[in-house]
């Protein structure tokens, strides 16, 4: 497949990119790694007269610690997140998630920002980013605003970003000492059928668990009933409570039949992977 003609603009600073978007309006789109956008253009699902390439914007490749946050610029690829020492040391579960996105070529070109903006409902990052309390910064003609990750994904291919806004940063608060994270996903296609993010924290003898479920439903689901059922349960005693809590949660999930599997199959997967992710986050065997 070839691409229908468009013009390519390569601004080197944010305001020039916003000005191009203002000039060309809905005939234009931002362009980063192109791993989703070029596929959609080739398939003629989308059509733009102008692509505004973000790859030359100075500073957009930032990946750094800023106070207690990790700041991920819009050009940071999954491959960088999988291999950067800062991420591997401070958020190993996130590095592992990134290392399992698609294939090496998608990881080498595809950005986390592009993944979030595209909002494919089976994407991996949103569930773990919600669990981590991440937020995204978007810049539009009227300045910048910050949106909590849990409010950014609004549904399939829909986000809280206005079409003219540029996602300029993903901020992840660095976990407090003693909190452990895990992300587990499973599927047979390019994207997972289900993904589960779990956290375990032992605070003065009062274990606390947090769980978010991705890929099922229109946006990441906060598994509050599971968290409530597990609150205070020591890791060694999880096997008494966790299977029932996971089954009960899975039964309530808004799973639907699609190419990733039947609704029943996905609920089954969700129960299994809620269990495994929680056990793994708490350092228990059975997390595999």
């Amino acid at each position: 497949m070839r691409l229908a003609p468009f013009q390519l603009h390569r601004p080197t600073e944010l305001h020039a990119a916003l000005a191009l978007r203002a000039q060309f309006g809905d005939d234009s789109a931002y362009y980063a790694g192109g791993t989703e956008l070029l596929l959609a253009l080739k398939a003629r699902v989308l059509r733009y007269e102008h692509l505004i390439d973000l790859k030359r914007i100075v500073g957009f490749d930032r990946l750094a610690r800023d106070g207690n946050d990790l700041v991920i610029g819009p050009l940071v690829t999954h491959l960088r997140l999988a291999t950067d020492p800062l991420i591997r040391e401070s958020l190993p579960a996130y590095a592992r998630l990134s290392d399992n996105v698609g294939n090496i070529r998608v990881r080498a070109s595809g950005t986390l920002a592009g993944n979030l903006c595209f909002s494919e409902p089976h994407a991996d990052p949103p569930a773990l980013l919600c669990l981590l309390g991440a937020s995204v910064t978007v810049h539009g003609p009227n300045g910048e605003r910050s949106v909590p990750m849990a409010e950014f994904i609004l549904g399939p291919f829909t986000t809280a970003r206005a079409d003219d806004e540029i996602l300029t940063a993903i901020r992840i608060p660095l976990p407090t000492a003693g909190e452990q994270f895990c992300y587990r996903s499973f599927g047979h296609l390019e994207y997972p059928a289900v993904g589960v993010a779990a956290a375990y924290q032992s605070q003065a003898g009062a274990p606390r668990y947090r769980v978010w479920i991705g890929c099922i439903g229109d946006n990441p689901i906060h598994a509050e009933p599971v968290e409530a059922a597990l609150a205070g349960v020591p890791p060694q005693a999880l096997s008494d409570v966790l299977p029932q809590a996971a089954e009960a949660m899975a039964a309530e999930l808004p799973a639907t039949d699609d190419i990733y599997g039947s609704a029943d199959y996905k609920r089954h997967l969700a129960a299994v992977f809620i269990g495994r992710a929680v056990l793994e986050s708490a350092g228990m065997p059975g997390g595999r």
Partner: protein, 155 residues
């Protein structure tokens, strides 16, 4: 503003500096195959899944079927034609030959380039690391065992 109908790009191709004019919407695979007559880069799935179209851009595997030619501006590109030196196959190519790690050969340029990129960064990968890195390169003939043997022989 410069003529928007085409963009001038400068890059190194298999070690040699080049300058060309390309349409902004030209795909890298078409530029390589049609404009530069480098037919070793293969198109199969056309959706970033199979890896037949793999080329290396600044040392990393890229799906040329879903990349713009304009994006290689300022970069270094290696295609399968660039691996052999003075008629001598690269070590990865030679290992694929020695292990008969191909049948129809359609996936082979992509497999060889992805392996080259892997070994450049991780000269001693484990079998699991090899499988993980090559997961996005699909072969419909060999069953992968010969390919794995070829790669492992280089570690």
């Amino acid at each position: 503003m410069a003529d928007l109908a085409s963009l001038d790009i400068s890059f190194t191709l298999n070690g040699a500096p080049q300058t060309h004019s390309v349409a902004p919407f030209a795909l890298l695979i078409d530029f390589l195959r049609d404009d530069l007559a480098l037919k070793g880069t293969k198109r199969s799935c056309d959706v970033q899944v199979c890896g037949a179209c793999t080329v290396l851009v600044d040392g990393l595997p890229v799906s040329s079927c879903t990349s713009l030619a304009a994006d290689i501006d300022g970069k270094s590109v290696v295609t399968i034609e660039g691996l052999a030196e003075h008629g001598k196959l690269s070590p990865v190519q030679q290992a694929f030959v020695d292990h008969a790690a191909m049948q129809c050969g359609f996936c082979t340029p992509g497999m060889v380039l992805a392996t080259t990129a892997l070994l450049e960064r991780h000269p001693h990968p484990t079998e699991q690391e090899i499988r993980h890195y090559l997961r996005g390169n699909i072969c419909r003939c060999t069953g992968y065992i010969k390919i794995l043997e070829a790669v492992k022989s280089l570690v």
